[in-house]
């Protein structure tokens, strides 16, 4: 590992210049919690690392306009989980960030890194799917905005070009009528990569009655997916525990999981259904209030 260059640009322009100079030989390093593992395992070799920790343009969590929240790529899971703005307007994301790794990982790992890694098991991604967030990408040709669902192309594959980077995410705010949850299943209580995860957002029209239903699953397909079959089945239907069980079972139609060291295909299919069911049940018991 001798002789790797590390650059610490102070602005986005400087960052873009460096990206152009090095091309595919350079990698951006944010928190390093994914990248350092790759370096160590020699999965990739780079000539240079561009540390974006001092770039002001990728920092901060704020209201972009009255309808949107903007989260800079360099925001850590811990910052997002404790942000009042996010907790008020996109609680499902705060919830997901709070369940990443361990305190150390949440203090270093960033949302930009989580998205850019493009793992189907990345925990912020199902939350961003159901929030219908967009990714702000900046590159030599300027800025472009890509809906989160179009960002991923496969495991570890995204639309990011070598000289581009993620600036931040834009999230439409949810008003108070929306209800949500994020659940992940891991073998243990912390430091567990999701075997299956599920994020849910819907407008609550009364106890057990939801519209604008959005459901996304992680770790059950090459990328995080929206489960449209399930969404349609829940939308506008009066749910009780029995129907909740029925609609949850439809999840396996949307999932195409694989077998790996963490779980088998068959188990994952069942778990996608059960995790959703457990989540819906908990909503049913608290949506009486709305």
């Amino acid at each position: 590992m001798t002789g790797i260059n590390v650059a610490i640009p102070k602005s986005i322009d400087e960052t873009l210049e460096l990206l152009e100079k090095w091309g595919p030989d350079a990698a951006i390093i944010a928190g390093g919690t994914d990248l350092v593992v790759e370096l160590k395992d020699k999965l990739k070799s780079w000539k240079a690392l561009i540390d974006i920790g001092c770039v002001p343009e990728v920092r901060g969590i704020r209201e972009a306009d009255s309808n949107h929240v903007w989260i800079g790529a360099m925001s850590t899971h811990a910052e997002i989980a404790s942000s009042t703005l996010v907790r008020d307007t996109a609680p499902v994301l705060a919830n997901a960030c709070a369940q990443v790794g361990s305190p150390q990982i949440r203090n270093r790992g960033t949302i930009g890194g989580n998205i850019s890694t493009a793992s189907p098991a990345g925990d912020t991604i199902p939350a961003l799917f159901v929030l219908e967030a967009s990714v702000e990408i900046i590159g030599p040709k300027g800025t472009r905005i890509v809906p989160i669902e179009s960002f991923f192309q496969g495991p570890k594959k995204s639309v990011l070009a070598p000289c581009e980077m993620v600036l931040g995410v834009r999230i439409p705010k949810l008003d108070k009528e929306y209800i949500s949850f994020f659940r992940k299943l891991g073998q243990r209580k912390s430091l567990a990569i999701s075997i299956v995860s599920v994020a849910f957002v819907a407008k609550c029209q009364g106890p057990g009655l939801f519209t604008d239903v959005r459901v996304a699953f992680g770790a059950v397909a090459p990328t995080v997916i929206r489960a449209r079959t399930v969404e349609n089945a829940i939308c506008g239907k009066q749910l009780d525990p029995k129907t909740a069980e029925y609609v949850s079972k439809l999840a396996f139609r949307d999932c195409v999981p694989i077998t790996d060291v963490r779980g088998s295909k068959g188990y994952r299919e069942q778990m996608a259904c059960n995790l959703l069911y457990e989540g819906l049940l908990s909503l049913l018991s608290c949506s009486e209030a709305c």
């Binding site: 073998q187 209580k189 912390s190 430091l191 088998s264």
Partner: protein, 774 residues
């Protein structure tokens, strides 16, 4: 109040501050002038012939000083604690994936790494065996020519007549239980540094070494030199749990060969991946139990057949499986027993010593079985066990009468089950009908355990106490600190016996050039054996000092007490001297203030053909009870609370006893629900802690440690043991609790998500050994 001054008090560990502040020196912290770095090239296939080994390109790389292979070894090619069958470097044939083929020694680890890629090895793959049942089947491939049928060892045990026993039984159950391959998961991977001595052919090896004397023997054999040419110094240990024995001996030997060849210090530090691939593991067992009982709940007969996967080399398998044969029936009176335990060769990673040492496996089987049998009999598992439990004067499966110590099994069972509220909760939870959502359950397991080595081998240990002219004390011990708190315990014993203050003792790291060979720090024997040796040494020195004090205080020797840094006349404590002043005076009088203490274990016996005899000189009893929550939708088992009652004889330090309980319970929980080294056709799949999952602090449940003290006649101040019993009980307690919660009986460890939900695992990334028989 304790009648002791230092012993039996919860004193803070003397190494606590240096460890938590990061000041403790571990092997990798050492650096010597001109030090080189060794990196090992490992086997590409678990079983293959080496046709050609070409190291020339690697040798030519600038910065490479030498490439070491079997051809460089001056002495023994292979080592092993029981049989010397594990090559330090393989010459013609690899037997498992962790075998060392060659080692590059270079100026930096990076250069050594690069050179590894330049070594060319041509292999011819050989047929393999990964499954113990296949290995013992007729016509199976023979892996080692001296071991027909791939049998490493066979221990029979015969008591009474099992045929008769089954005839007398109203209920006979047959069950098969299996356990998995387990990694020690010490935080510090294996490491050693060898430094060539000034005198020709001498070498000093520093390392993360569990057993300095074993390492010395192996290094000397490999170098072909006498024992006194090799000096082993143990560094601070980042955990061991039985794991840093023969594998570390091999690493020390490689470093020593390289150091003598190059004339420079050589350091070897395994990466985590190398550690998991190379190091031996806890044996997976396949255990067939047949048990018979009368309708009123009395055990009549047990027939037990066990295959233990030894992997590629003998290692500790004969000793590990011997403990299994002694304890396989559990702590219950069974009049008729027939047990056969076999160690079996395969091409899996070899297996050896790990905390528990042949007990966690059989206790999982036997304690699951006790619950299953109670259920069949319609009895409460607690009542059923109490009806059959060892009591004072009971006779074990090997015919040993338990009358030389307090048989406290019933006491520990009652304490642990009460603390968890077992009886009431079990009844309430048994009504659980839910197949959905979260349900709770309780369960427990009990054991008896032979202390120290037993009839396994030579059992003696030494210590050296040396009082200085200013009253401060050096303490050397032949048994070594492994992170378990030995330094503190031994210092307490020395201070108590000498009558000095605890702070006056400095415990010296174990150095083979100073202290007599005391065997290995294993089998939870340190406090009993080494502690007795410390006490013996301290007593000898105290007698000298008392003699001096008697003279100066002008009182008879017998009437003087030494305690807490003072020596005083019993009748008139005001007539007293400071310990340090007595030491000064004794020095002035030219008295010897140092002594070697020695302790030899009481006699034990064993008949290899019948498995009868006095296996161990004393036993400890333990019981752990658990309350769990099972998620019927995901198969997730959450351990909510554990009560652990252990009879330790006497707690030399109640705080470190509790520490052992917390750690052992946590390891037991990993064994029960999380951990498994996955091998696919002999290839290690779980190579780091992202895939080999151990419990984190978030997973640790509430633990209630219950220390039971029935002083023993042998150990120091009545102390027995605690290290291993804490880690052998929780897995079956959890399995029994899961059954109580949701009615699922799981007979294969671990109880991970898939196995609890589905009853078997669907994961494909496993070798044959991992395939579940439904």
């Amino acid at each position: 109040m304790s009648s002791f001054t230092v012993v039996n008090h919860p004193i803070s560990r003397i190494d606590a501050i240096e460890k938590v502040t990061g000041r403790a020196e571990f092997t990798d912290d050492l650096a010597f002038d001109g030090m080189l770095h060794g990196r090992v090239l490992r086997a590409k296939y678990p079983h293959a012939k080496i046709l050609e080994l070409d190291t020339r390109k690697a040798e030519e790389l600038p910065g490479v000083v030498a490439v070491i292979t079997y051809a460089d070894i001056p002495g023994a090619q292979a080592i092993g604690p029981v049989r010397p069958d594990m090559p330090v470097f393989v010459s013609t044939r690899t037997m498992y994936l962790g075998d060392a083929v060659a080692m590059v020694v270079a100026e930096t680890p990076e250069i050594a790494n690069r050179a590894l890629a330049l070594i060319r090895v041509e292999y011819e793959e050989l047929p393999t065996i990964f499954d113990v049942e296949e290995a013992v089947s007729e016509g199976a491939l023979q892996l080692h020519k001296d071991y027909p049928g791939n049998i490493v060892n066979h221990y029979p045990l015969r008591k009474g007549n099992v045929e008769e026993g089954f005839k007398e039984s109203d209920i006979v159950l047959e069950r098969t239980y299996t356990t998995q391959l387990i990694e020690h998961a010490y935080i510090e991977p294996e490491a050693a540094v060898a430094v060539p001595g000034a005198a020709d052919g001498t070498v000093t090896v520093y390392g993360s070494i569990q057993n300095p004397f074993t390492a010395r023997r192996h290094v000397a054999q490999v170098l072909g030199v006498s024992l006194n040419r090799v000096r082993i110094i143990q560094c601070a240990m980042g955990g061991s749990f039985g794991g840093k024995d023969d594998v570390v001996s091999a690493i020390c030997a490689r470093a020593a060969v390289a150091a003598l060849k190059t004339g420079r210090p050589v350091k070897i530090v395994n990466t985590r991946e190398e550690s998991i691939i190379e190091s031996y593991k806890r044996h997976p067992y396949v255990m067939k139990y047949k048990v018979g009982a009368t309708r009123c709940g009395k055990l009549r007969a047990m027939e037990i057949h066990i295959l233990a996967d030894a992997g590629s080399y003998v290692s500790m398998t004969p000793f590990v499986t011997w403990r299994s044969v002694v304890q396989a029936t559990g702590p219950y009176e069974v009049p008729n027993v027939k047990t056969d335990v076999y160690g079996v060769f395969t091409n899996n990673t070899y297996t050896g010593a790990m905390r528990g040492f042949g007990s966690p496996q059989i206790i999982f089987a036997q304690e699951s079985l006790m619950d299953e049998l109670a259920e069949e009999l319609g009895m409460d598992p607690l009542e059923f066990r109490l009806a059959n439990a060892f009591k004072q004067g009971s006779v074990t499966a090997s015919g040993q009468i338990l009358d030389e110590h307090t048989v406290s099994l019933v006491q520990v069972i009652e304490k642990a089950t009460e603390a968890i509220g077992y009886s009431e909760k079990r009844k309430a939870y048994a009504e659980n009908k839910a197949q959905k959502g979260k349900v709770r359950g309780v369960g427990f397991a009990a054991s008896y355990r032979g202390v120290s080595l037993g009839a396994e081998g030579v059992d003696a240990a030494g210590a050296l106490v040396s009082v200085q002219p200013d009253g401060s004390v050096y303490l050397h011990s032949g048994l070594a600190e492994n992170g378990q708190g030995l330094k503190t315990i031994f210092s307490q014993i020395a201070a108590e016996e000498l009558g000095c203050r605890f702070e006056d003792i400095v415990f010296m790291d174990t150095d083979t050039s100073v202290i007599p060979d005391s065997g290995a720090t294993v089998a939870s024997r340190s406090t009993t054996m080494g502690g007795s040796a410390v006490r013996d040494a301290a007593k000898k020195v105290r007698e000298v000092l008392l003699g001096v004090a008697a003279e100066l205080l002008n009182a008879p020797y017998e009437e003087i007490t030494a305690a807490g840094g003072k020596m005083y006349v019993n009748e008139d404590p005001a007539r007293c001297m400071e310990f340090k002043d007595v030491a000064k005076a004794a020095y002035g009088k030219g008295q010897l203030m140092a002594a070697i203490g020695w302790y030899q274990a009481p006699r034990v016996s064993w008949d290899e053909k019948t498995g009868q005899g006095k296996a161990y000189f004393t036993y400890v009893y333990g019981c752990q009870a658990a309350e769990v929550e099972v998620d019927c939708d995901t198969g997730q088992v959450k351990v909510l609370k554990v009560a652990a009652a252990h009879d330790v004889g006497r707690a030399i330090n109640p705080a470190t006893v509790e520490g052992q309980i917390y750690g052992g319970v946590t390891m037991g929980m990993g064994y029960g629900i999380l951990e498994e080294v996955e091998l696919q056709d002999g290839v290690t799949k779980t190579r780091n802690f992202d895939e080999y999952l151990i419990p984190t602090s978030m997973d640790v449940p509430e633990i209630v440690p219950i220390i039971v003290e029935n002083p023993d006649s042998y150990g120091p101040y009545g102390a027995k043991t605690i290290g291993e019993p804490t880690c052998e009980l929780l897995a079956p307690a959890i399995a029994n609790a899961v059954y109580n919660a949701c009615g699922k009986r799981i007979r294969r460890l671990p109880l991970d998500l898939e196995r609890v939900l589905l009853g078997y695992s669907l994961r494909a990334a496993r070798g044959k050994r991992g395939s579940d028989e439904a």
